[in-house]
Assembly symmetry: D2
Homo-oligomer: 332 residues x 4
């Protein structure tokens, strides 16, 4: 989620007028607002952080702006509200009190939760992880970092994650990694569907064009029963060199097609059940006996020792990665 110019922003309309216009458009079109966000990173005042700024005056400014943003989200009936902390981190450890900054960020989020409840805003709060850029290190590094942070400060019931796979790859993971991890921890809220080039070290916000990737993402989304109230949005840009008006349409169509093919692939994979069945069988030892005790948490180390004394060395079982990959390839 990168800062972007907008024609509205450049118009003479103020925020309330824009909100009213958006409301009107909603009524006319039936299109609802997936999410609202506050840009707490692009203005120079936020260069050293918004919620983590060493100067409380800046944090206050961010808070005032956030209050307004939440009011607008309420007015627009937004389904979600996204926090992307592009400046919540540091450029140098030498000038940073990490402990203080994390506490301020947590308290900032707590104020948001409180105000949300006060005004009866129903939307889902989402945090979007990104490892770095513009900061050298951002506290919301990846899905697990945010989960750790939220749980540490008792915020885990108030937030889910908005995963942008380009950020995931910048954190050293595979494209689908954080979508899967967030889902496993019950924290996948929404997906910002853009991509980068795996050989580049910065965020290019390209339109997703790789069907392998979209198949993996859609498979995870189906398996967790959908994303509602979240969704799939393109926070992508045509390349700076794509200057024709039609490029904007081609890019959206090409990327949407890529996700559509991914969705159809994922449905076929799940309906065929070949991979799922193989997987179920692979873990079948946990459905009975000692395995079931491990599963339900009643097993002990003494049980383990007894079991091995009776059953000895386990068999080596092939992981069969190439077989899984070959089967997966049949769906691409």
């Amino acid at each position: 989620m990168a800062p972007e110019g907008s024609t509205l922003k450049e118009s003479n309309m103020n925020l309330d007028e824009i909100t009213d216009l958006a409301l009107q458009l909603q009524k006319q079109t039936g299109v609802k607002v997936l999410w609202v966000t506050c840009n707490l990173f692009a203005h120079p005042r936020y260069m050293n952080g918004a919620a983590t700024n060493p100067d409380c005056h800046v944090l206050a400014y961010a808070g005032a702006q956030l209050k307004k943003g939440l009011d607008i989200a309420k007015k627009l009936g937004a389904e979600n509200f996204v926090f992307w902390g592009g400046r919540e981190g540091f450029l140098s450890m030498h000038n940073t009190d990490v402990s203080a900054e994390l506490k301020h960020m947590a308290n900032f989020f707590k104020m948001a939760v409180k105000y949300k409840e006060k005004i009866g805003l129903k939307c889902q709060f989402l945090i979007e992880p990104k490892p770095k850029e513009p900061c050298r290190h951002q506290y919301d590094y990846d899905a697990m970092s945010v989960i750790g942070f939220l749980k540490h400060f008792g915020l885990e019931n108030h937030f889910k994650l908005n995963i942008e796979p380009n950020h995931t790859t910048l954190a050293g993971h595979s494209y689908e990694h954080d979508v899967v991890m967030a889902s496993v921890f019950g924290m996948l809220g929404s997906v910002d569907a853009n991509t980068g080039s795996p050989d580049l070290g910065w965020d290019t916000d390209q339109f997703p064009m790789d069907i392998r990737n979209t198949t993996m993402v859609m498979k995870t989304v189906i398996e967790q029963g959908g994303l509602q109230p979240g969704g799939l949005n393109f926070d992508a840009k045509v390349r700076r060199e794509s200057t024709d008006l039609e490029d904007l349409f081609i890019a959206h169509i090409g990327a949407m097609d890529t996700f559509a093919r991914g969705l159809r692939n994922a449905v076929r994979i799940i309906e065929d059940g070949i991979i799922t069945d193989k997987l179920k069988e692979r873990y079948s030892s946990f459905s009975h006996g000692l395995g079931q005790k491990v599963e339900d948490g009643s097993a002990t180390l003494e049980d383990m020792e007894d079991y091995i004394q009776q059953n000895g060395e386990p068999n080596v079982t092939s992981g069969k990665q190439e077989k899984y990959e070959s089967i997966f390839n049949h769906y691409i």
Copy 2:
């Protein structure tokens, strides 16, 4: 922490005889055991995981081995017990049930905690994060991943972290990053002091030779009041090409000198107080007024709005990174 051959392992002594020998040596020398660990990754039986193996038989084997390891730790009066999950992760998402594996790993740790309490083992449990290698992805990716995992499964009071900075850099962070993050979250237990080359993508377990790095680590250790019952150990190897017997001594002496210089630098930095004072001043707005309310968690978004309506746009304050870096350089 990589698997390594050992002359003891190649001897004809069994585990109990080795333990007795170790006990004897302890009494003779007064040298205590910093930590004991179980190698749950090198044997082919663990190739698909120990606690996260899809076959419960293998998990049971790991459990039996762990029970023995904890008994030995008790016997030796070990100060810590380290878990490094080199195979707790996956090589391919296609053949992996991440959710099941994480639950099994958590339950495995819970059995360890239970047994530890049962036998009255007093040592600190430590988890050592590593992002990848041998796995494509390890669940204990970095400090924040482990913290998130522990808190999710209610294990955070039973474990601390053993940080190896070479693993930290492989996870995309700076050398000192996870030492600092673990410390900030109250989870820094011990430090495996080796290093890699920042331009390489695998674990080289080199002896640490960069004084900037050791200064940063020792500064963090001092600031959190030491590492006890943890410590600083070299889990480093001389390079495969360093074949002279003396290389082993030179490497240890050179690395120890590097940490000694780091410690002395850190002490001077802290005693001089120049950087600390600058830092205190940088965050001084949080010691009174609105800042104090943010700090203690009583501030609201409405307070923020009021403050900005009265005080307007904040001043832009330089981060002064180059000044901090230049001052830091005076201590190197």
Copy 3:
């Protein structure tokens, strides 16, 4: 190309007996030898380099071994001879005379050329680039590094490149990059068709399973008119966890299918001509007028200035990346 155990090596046959056996098998099956190589990296004697070893005694050993290897290549009628310099580089600049080592490596190659000519060996010499691992830096870093080296020492007419795309990605390029670059410079000799995971920093020698990648490689191979006398070989290994005998077959079949699909995609792309025509049009200004003078090297800066004085500012032309990507996706 990693060192590997082989059942033959573990047999009691000596090198001459193995060569005779290989000859016999060739006659019986009609299968020819794509390439022969010497393992000048796995034995501890080569730990500090073979042709670049600081000790000339080791270089001599490598030379003697290479002489034998060339004799065998001659006997077997090998089509190519591959040099992979896994130890030709350095672990530390502190103990390395880069200038001397490069000169020795060049002279070593010159001896090989001379001996090849002397014995009338007809095969193509190939160098396989790899950026690092086991060394921290290998001189044959990537295609362009090897081309630069060969041209500097006047060896460019005696060698071509054997590109392994997993090595290419480790050097920070995209999968197909070095195949394309080597081809453009007239230096693509053969392809070691394995792959890695883009999120890993070491060589995993996995079987290629991504059809996008194989499409790009096969397109380049077709466009340069084939690889003869080179070829496409799998220098891949099943994952250490793929322990069933059938995994070896599945992996080869799956990867061969992936290349077959890539070949068919590439043929369709070229026969349809949509991308090719768009590309031809994109560069069409170089087929006449000033463009033709640039193309044939007769244009001058004065011509440029004249042209701009007459024609002014050029139009901005969209790169249309998303359109190209969308069209490409129709072939996947």
Copy 4:
């Protein structure tokens, strides 16, 4: 070398007036011009390349601009002229004819050489490698890529390299790597002395503050007998967050001090001769007998075989990396 705003550019002075002003300042101060360059990357017309643009009209514009730039260099008596090809590369292979682009770039450089000779411009031409950013791939990837390109097109006698170590690390090498490689190939012309953070994947153009790095660079510069007519310049920027006027001074002073300490360390290392002597001894086998024949290129593979038949297996000799590192640390 990144595009930057300048107050002069924003003034109303035209290029000729600025040149005259620069000439005047030169006379007044005695400060000479290290290098002149043309910005052939920032303007949107160059978005798809300057010398490698698919549209010859754009190439012509670049040529006209270059002609003017060379005239100004002549007028100012510049010691060097730098070419940084920030747009000479590609964003996608799908829309790129790499072969054509490389040829056009070479012919563009040939025009520059021709015009330089015509107007009697005496300065050294320099190419500055950078692997990527803004392009996905830049043809001048690193030192060896440029050397390969120059030699392929017969341009190697007309150009040297301007190495920016931050670009070197982005290409996957260590900080000093390209300085050393360029020097070894006789191509080190000048050094753009800035740095990045090894954990970041984009160009941050920070002021160099690590004394290890500057020691290595200065050692190489001394060993090749200086950089004339090149030099050492800071193409660095204070961080965007360093907004005080004094930061600009502090950064320059801090970085200059870092290079000064590096220079003094390098001098001590060379004068003490401990490392140099160890290195000379390490390669001493090449100063006599078979080694000398390898050195002068007269040895053959047959000589190697004879030598090994007489002398057998070489001794394993320790690389002693940790010893070299420990000695080096004494100078930091």
